[in-house]
Symmetry: C2
Subunit: 457 residues, 2 copies
Amino acid sequence: MSPSSEFIAAVEVVDVRFPTSLQLDGSDAMNPEPDYSATYVIVRTSDGIAGYGLAFTVGRGNDVQVAAVQALAPLVVGLPVADVLGDLGGFSRRLTGDSQLRWLGPEKGAIHMAAGAIINAVWDLYGRREGKPVWRLLAELSPDQLVDLVDFRYLQDALTRKEALAILRRAEPGRAARTAQLLDGGYPAYTTTPGWLGYSDEKLVRLAKGAVADGFGLIKLKVGADLGDDLRRMRLARETVGPQVLIAVDANQAWGVHQAIGWMTQLAPYEPYWIEEPTSPDDILGHAAIRRAIAPIKVATGEHVHNQVMFKQLLQAGAIDVLQLDASRTAGITENIAILLLAAKFDIPVCPHAGGVGLCEMVQHLAMFDFVAVSGSTEGRFIEYVDHLHEHFTDPARVRGSRYLAPTAPGISAQMHSRSLTDHRYPDGPVWAALRQRGDQHSLSGSSGPTAAHTAQ
Amino acid sequence: MSPSSEFIAAVEVVDVRFPTSLQLDGSDAMNPEPDYSATYVIVRTSDGIAGYGLAFTVGRGNDVQVAAVQALAPLVVGLPVADVLGDLGGFSRRLTGDSQLRWLGPEKGAIHMAAGAIINAVWDLYGRREGKPVWRLLAELSPDQLVDLVDFRYLQDALTRKEALAILRRAEPGRAARTAQLLDGGYPAYTTTPGWLGYSDEKLVRLAKGAVADGFGLIKLKVGADLGDDLRRMRLARETVGPQVLIAVDANQAWGVHQAIGWMTQLAPYEPYWIEEPTSPDDILGHAAIRRAIAPIKVATGEHVHNQVMFKQLLQAGAIDVLQLDASRTAGITENIAILLLAAKFDIPVCPHAGGVGLCEMVQHLAMFDFVAVSGSTEGRFIEYVDHLHEHFTDPARVRGSRYLAPTAPGISAQMHSRSLTDHRYPDGPVWAALRQRGDQHSLSGSSGPTAAHTAQ
């Protein structure tokens, strides 16, 4: 990085929402009617370069995320770009460690997700300046550079800097070969497309057949609302895909610990591969108890696990078989590097959470970096894939057959088309204006709408 | 509750901030310059009755809390008051379980604190209608009514409904005697007033002497920034208060697990009573490791523990000796009932976190309810007391000698004077306007100030 007077000139944020609740795409036991949304962040420099990131939400509350990004923006605007890109670990700590804003977390919830959106936008900027997709940018940093990005303060009882360096150095000699392998053959995906709770049996079977035809080795079904339905859908899915294709199930936190064990015992004859989010994502000890009780069915979680300290404990407690990091729940790429290193230390495979808006686009960079420079393996590893909303991205995730192709465009793949932003901006974009006009209350319960809340005099 | 057509007509919210950073009151290892603030909530009914609650923050970010309250308000406005007060458990789940808003948590961070502020305002309303302070309102509910308020979904592996009922029934016969005892003699307090990190040695000694003279049996010092300073301050404090008065220390999350153990081993000769927040509040297993290593020094945490699932695990893991619930971090009175029952089940004393803005006022109701109707004891129990900002409340916490007097006015004691609200409203109240005029940038770094952040076109 050559010294320059370039600085961060603006942090812009847009409330973008898609009325997905109209189709019941994305319906599960805890999210019956999501409107997939993004708190979309653009970081602009004084030289006219921009980086793009986002936090994914499911509708109402996207306005709170916008406020959280706006609260963090003054910590970013005015910083020299060279200082930021030269110390992205320090930059992340600046956002997650602000002595006043961290009260809203610390390192969790709206303020942490907002930090992640900004941090990812800055990583995007970094990738664009280097002319590299972020997976490759990361995979070409030295072990020392990577370890410098990690905040070890709360991790050292599970992972020291020295251990992290050893993991990265062990993977170093094979980086070039694995990069070539990735560019050639891509990375394994699994699909959640057949399994939404709102789908009919007929649609489930049709989509499951399609998934097998596409070569997927793992599909996922949502469960947890009704045991009878789950038994029937699991049987249909197993009959459709045969004994070889893996079927994961996902309860989206619907159960208590004992209930999870009971329910999964009922589903066991259909050989579920993993149970995802069986209970509260905060319940480390609960996941450990479930895992002990239902082995060999695996336990997976992560999309709502809010930071590296929680992942550390899930690993220390032997609570999970599969770690599902998320691109927008934690503090972005930087914190996810720590999470990948923790997973490698405990030899637990990472299968990122995706779907939503832009999550497939972003997490592929993390999984591919993991393969090239951290774990060095794709065994037992898959990136989630859901085939909607990709058309809104300028560099959409590309899945061919059952594999993610490695992105080659610079950045983190989170940039959306200007038209998509304009059309879906909430509450004033034309898509929402039209829904309002036809009186579709179903999707217009957003909190930015008319409300009796106001500021007292 | 007689049927009526009264409904909730409005949820109002005010951003109130006090420029406490100018005095370094409230300074600790992680919060060097807090501006104590409140996201102040007023719930008004169609009959002109109001309830008052708040979320406490330390300055920047209070605007994000305001946005979170506004996001929840549409779930509240329009509800019949009789339905809400007749099923406060259901009302709490409505706020914490909204299928879209819970994505920002779930049950943590800004959205959960906002739910707590609204829920407490509704409990305040309930107390006012019944003409009772909330501690007494709670202590006069039947065990069945109390247990109906608890959401057991994620608790049952540690506390069943039946066990909770047994705890409450065991305490029932002594309720009247303990209520009389409380009205007569109050509840034990401890004081943090002498111990702020920004205070000089002279001020520390002077205030510690004053605390002893007032009869306090426990004082607290902030630690964690510099070991040499901590050793000197701890020695001075111990010399000042003598061997009988307990001295707790509070690191406000400054350390990693091993560092906490090392630091406390150094301080051990001065016999600290408890170490509070030795590390990340999320690190259940870390607290358990620290506790094992430094016994008989006790381990305390809670002010940043974000929900009942985390408290459940701190208790299951044997991670704490003292549980420090907070009135505004979790989802208000309702969730705190569950936390008190968990503590009683595991026989761990509750010493609420207070100070801040309005926390002394609110938590006293929980501790007193605990004494009368849950644990039945004040042994090893103290409510934190800090002697500032009480003048802004219409029913301020009253500490005489070293004891909290039981509130007798109806409600939860969170109502502020209109003048205090008007003067300290951020950013446009006269206190802030005056600071801005004299160019005091120190306290004007708030995120609601001028910023380059804006919404993209």
